[in-house]
């Protein structure tokens, strides 16, 4: 691998026993471990990047007789498949991570909210969960895990829509605050963490905060699992140090003709070739839940944008007007400009609309549409117009 890209092996390493790591970790002082997690700089690996240690601290400090841990396995961001691979390769690490969280915050019940499209994995995962549930009992940990299937809705990856779905309702986001750590599933304190985040939390119990923090950058500590696809000869899942330059990434994964990289899926940003060298993959630059999709010069950025807007129109829960109507108008708008029905300057109006959606939409779905919209329209205006 290109020496500027550092490959690491925490998540997928099979040389450690997750049951063992868990058994040791639960003997530690809880506040002590939370501090270690905070010191490690671990941030949510699903895309939103909230500091994990802080989240666990809030849930621990919330007074309640019932608390919950939910593993967000609703992986739906286009181009993201790293959680699928983590669950296939090292599921016990995920479950041990959940149990560790449960122990720290005081939850006895954990759920894996698994996207419906991964239902073929359910049987194997259930077998592993059954094993782990027995293991938890054997180390006197009052915690058990259950699988809940999703139903094929991208918006249910948003934590409050996920909770609504788990409560048997339509997957529509709630207002925040209150945040799930205070009031979540059944209005009880709930930690919802991404598959990868839970795995790293367990690994930090093993390696310690310093080793994790030694990787990455100040704002983007540690490493992350990326899923690479598109115009590349090396599609697949890679665990890499955070904070790399996009140009180094493209040197490694591009096919020699990379025109743009979509960092973060449909809700992420499109970075054109001229900006590769100035773009850092991380929270201080452009973050991603893992999705990295490369486009070469044969690709029509109009089609790419249209595809994303189509996606948002379909996946929007349609509850709030800015998102519901905004998504519709954006796709109609670019079609109208393309066909000549509207003048190219209409694109400026559409960009303003997307900015309104960013401020006024109820949840991250509507709030993120402008990321791809603005970046593609700004950088590839001619392809959108003609």
């Amino acid at each position: 691998m290109n020496e500027k890209i550092k490959k690491v092996d925490y998540i997928f390493s099979k040389d450690c026993d997750s049951k063992d790591i868990l058994a040791k970790a639960i003997k530690r002082d809880k506040d002590d471990f939370i501090q270690e997690l905070i010191n490690s700089g671990l941030r949510g690996r699903g895309g939103a990047g909230f500091p994990t240690g802080l989240k666990w601290k809030y849930a621990k400090d919330s007074q309640s007789d019932e608390k919950y841990v939910i593993c967000n396995a609703d992986e739906g961001e286009p181009g993201t498949f790293k959680d699928r691979v983590i669950l296939q390769e090292v599921p016990c690490k995920v479950f041990a991570g959940m149990a560790l969280c449960g122990h720290i915050i005081g939850a006895k019940k954990g759920y894996v909210y698994l996207r419906w499209e991964y239902v073929s994995m359910k049987e194997d995962l259930q077998n592993k969960i059954d094993e782990m549930n027995i293991e938890f009992k054997s180390i006197n940990l009052d915690f058990s895990i259950e699988i809940r299937m999703g139903s094929g809705a991208y918006v249910c990856g948003e934590e409050t829509a996920l909770i609504e779905s788990m409560e048997g309702k339509r997957g529509e986001p709630r207002n925040k605050p209150p945040f799930p750590a205070a009031s979540g599933f059944k209005n009880k304190p709930t930690i919802i963490n991404n598959v990868e985040t839970l795995t790293y939390a367990l690994m930090i119990a093993r390696i310690g905060a310093s080793e994790f923090k030694a990787l990455g950058t100040e704002d983007s500590a540690g490493s992350k699992v990326f899923s690479v696809s598109g115009d590349t000869d090396k599609p697949g899942v890679y665990e890499l140090e955070l904070g790399m330059k996009l140009s180094d990434f493209v040197d490694e994964f591009g096919d020699g003709d990379t025109k743009a990289v979509q960092v973060g899926g449909a809700s992420g940003f499109c970075v054109p070739r001229r900006k590769f060298n100035d773009t850092i993959i991380g929270f201080e630059g452009i973050p991603t839940g893992g999705s990295m999709m490369l486009f070469n010069s044969h690709r029509s950025m109009y089609k790419v944008l249209h595809n994303y807007l189509d996606f948002f129109n379909e996946e929007s829960c349609a509850e709030c007007t800015p998102c519901r109507v905004g998504c519709q108008q954006l796709i109609k708008g670019i079609e109208a400009v393309k066909s000549g029905q509207k003048a190219p300057r209409y694109l400026d109006e559409l960009v303003k609309l997307s900015e309104t959606m960013q401020i006024a939409s109820k949840c991250g779905l509507g709030q993120s549409v402008s990321n791809a919209f603005k970046s593609i329209v700004d950088e590839f205006k001619e392809e959108i117009m003609y």
């Binding site: 739906g76 899923s227 696809s229 690709r299 996606f311």
Partner: protein
């Protein structure tokens, strides 16, 4: 990006249906979907609960025929 249109055409040809329609024997309904989590092995599809990846016209023909012959 990886040839989904050709796969769609192949399926439509074999089953004599268009997107959104159900085959005459009620065995298959053809629907398009968003990313199902196998972006590194596209084109991909789900038939009921099972995922099939790295599809080619030949592969998808075989897969569908294997269901029809059951």
């Amino acid at each position: 990006m990886k040839g989904k249109d050709e796969i769609m055409e192949t399926i439509q040809d074999i089953l004599h249906i268009k997107v959104g329609e159900t085959s005459h024997d009620n065995m298959f309904t053809l629907l398009e979907t968003n990313d199902i989590g196998w972006s590194d092995k596209e084109p991909s599809m789900l038939i009921n609960n099972k995922a099939y990846t790295e599809l080619t016209s030949e592969k998808v023909t075989e897969i569908i025929k294997s269901y029809l012959n059951k």
